[in-house]
């Protein structure tokens, strides 16, 4: 502050008042954000295989969720759709992946999703680019289920196989004029990516996307 500075009578035109306010408001907001962050981090830490066995609901379930069937159902209590983890389900022919195996698959998938730059065409949890469909609930999308276009095109009979075959040669299985490019995804990386997509579909996103696949007639055209 310069020497000729005079403290005004009212606080409303006082630099000192406003600089103090800036400090207090910023400090208070930051502290509140940190407290909220601590609470949230606790809630979004990934669950364990035990949680799944004991039917403990986690916002972000363990990678072992690949051993189970995942659905997305309307919850009367929550007022929107939530992921529901059901009975055991085969994933690439097995439903007995140990937690370590499942984690390794998820890790491979997540790393591949970053290395292949998925986020600069697709959105994940709604974040990314808008050139290709959102992947949040891709695992549950009717296009990949029995009777959907992708299983027919790839000549497969399950969601995991269809996704894996597609990801290794996406430019060969075009459903629309806008194709996915060939990113040199190996069978191992594809399996990891499918595990990553399945686990992501089991994350509780507070009902996003809304009314997912609600209008059956229209989605089948």
């Amino acid at each position: 502050m310069s020497e000729d500075y005079k403290e005004p009578e009212s606080v409303w035109t006082s630099n000192r008042f406003w600089s103090r306010s800036a400090g207090w408001v910023t400090g208070f907001s930051a502290v509140l954000l940190i407290l909220l962050t601590m609470d949230t981090l606790d809630q979004i830490t990934i669950g364990s295989a035990k949680d799944l066995e004991n039917k403990v609901t986690k916002r972000v379930p363990s990678a072992s969720v690949i051993n189970y069937k995942v659905t997305y159902e309307y919850s009367d209590v929550r007022g929107h759709e939530v992921p529901v983890i059901g009975e055991k389900e085969l994933f690439f022919g097995r439903s007995d992946y140990s937690e370590a195996e499942a984690n390794a698959l998820l890790d491979k998938g997540k790393l591949t999703s970053q290395a292949k730059n998925c986020m600069n065409c697709h959105t994940l949890l709604g974040n990314g680019a808008y050139y290709a469909p959102d992947l949040t609930k891709a695992w549950l999308d009717p296009a990949w289920q029995a009777g959907g276009v992708m299983q027919g095109m790839t000549g497969t009979t399950s969601v995991d196989e269809a996704m894996s075959v597609f990801l290794q040669n996406p430019d060969k299985y075009a459903s629309h004029a806008r194709r996915m490019p060939n990113l040199g995804i190996t069978p191992e990386e594809a399996k990891g990516l499918v595990a990553f997509l399945k686990q992501m579909s089991s994350i509780d996103t507070n009902g996003f996307p809304r009314n997912f696949n609600k209008i059956q007639g229209s989605t089948q055209k």
Partner: protein
């Protein structure tokens, strides 16, 4: 105003968020009350 807790994990902030109004009232209070207090004390100081 107070309804059953619905979020996945009960927590302090989640509790404040039960029902449609509680968290909103809390947050608005922490914004508006200090402003009101400064306004009042300033008015008093200026001798009005």
């Amino acid at each position: 105003m107070f309804t059953e807790f619905t979020d996945v994990v009960p927590s302090f902030w989640g509790m404040l968020n039960q029902g449609p109004m509680t968290l909103t009232i809390f947050l608005h209070s922490i914004i508006v009350l200090p402003m009101y207090f400064i306004y009042k004390s300033e008015k008093k100081r200026m001798g009005h």
